[in-house]
Amino acid sequence: MDSMSARLILRVVLISVLGCLPLHAQDSAVTLSGNVTDASGKAISNAKISIKDLGTGQSSEVQADSHGHFSAPNLAVGEYEIVASFDGASSAPQKITLAAGVPNNVTLALTQQGNLPSAPSPSKTEPALEDLGFSPAESKANIERQALLDKRTHMLKIHQRMGLITTIPMIASVVTSLNAGGRSEGTASRDLHVALGALTGDLYGITAYYAIRAPKIPGTETKGPINVHKILAWIHGPGMIATPILGAMAFSQKNNGEKVHGIASAHGPVAIVTAGAFGAALLAVSVKF
């Protein structure tokens, strides 16, 4: 019993200590900031800064902005080794002890001269970006827009892959439709057709979700084959809704021993148009005509 109590107390203490750890880490988070320069002290833009925690051995990277300035937030206090690099040039590894409540700044000079693009310079002999008449807004980094573009690409890649996967059961359901209707009285081929149709519908739904939910990029005009792709979606989209409804009606009529009649007889033609529009939409963005 004593042993169990001791284990229980130990667990409670351990949970309490572990529960406090994140709070402790959050309290002591510090920001490392600094500048990257070349050997002459001129700011170097877009250099990579590698930050290695000498306590844990873990490394992280940040990138300098167009003025050579960088900032690495949310670091734990401790000893770090910092190296800047750009296109073959790198700085000497610099050790720094980060502490809470004091400025943690460092200047990293690239020692090996490579093809270094300098930040806008006040030198009279080197034109600066401002000299070319570009507004500061045009050359200003927009992290949010980049994140939006990254998300868009990520979602559209899934959309693209799911669209290709969807073609497999779609083609199979078109092929199995040959034995699913007509005078055939068997149910096995009809059930297979229904199963493939259902799978196609599910995969199509996922494909459509990733296209619809992909973020729009403000201020961009849509032009080119993507317009054809989108117009065709207005054909295969409603078609993918109508086809299973008409199919269910036809299925019911066949199961009742009736000949498929009325609006249900449109199931086949609607499915063919839908599959055709889907295939054309796929080709519109894949092949340059």
Binding site: N46, K48, Q63, S66, D87, N115, P117, S118, K124, T125, E126, P127, A128, L129, D131, L132, G133, F134, E138, S139, K140, A141, N142, I143, R145, Q146, L148, L149, D150, R152, T153, I217, T220, E221, T222, K223, G224, P225, I226, V285, S286, V287, K288
Partner: protein, 131 residues
Amino acid sequence: MNKKLLVFFLFAAISRLSAADSTWVLKESALTYHVSHPLHQTDGVSHAARGKGICHGGQCDFLIAVPVKSFDSGDSNRDLHMIQVTKGAEYPMVMVRTRLPESEGLHLRLGPIWKFNSPGRLPTISKYPSR
């Protein structure tokens, strides 16, 4: 963009603004990005580059810059993808700096500037412009 090749070329014609103060300005330019894909090839062109050269002591410092978003291939989907891959929103300008002797600065032919063959990598200058 896997196995795709994205290359930027810049063909620029620079004219001397004034012989007295040895300042050069970019009059016309065509910067192209090219995407090679097994099913299609895409070329996007920008004529929005601006450039300037300042000469001092027989040496000219040139800066040519163009907004990444100014490229037009006729396919907005490809252009947006190019901007995403090159991190064009985070680094909105393609900039080329070069130093040339004043006597040889009459014509610049630059390219390729960037070459990518893997997505997600930051742009690196693989070949610095030559005369």
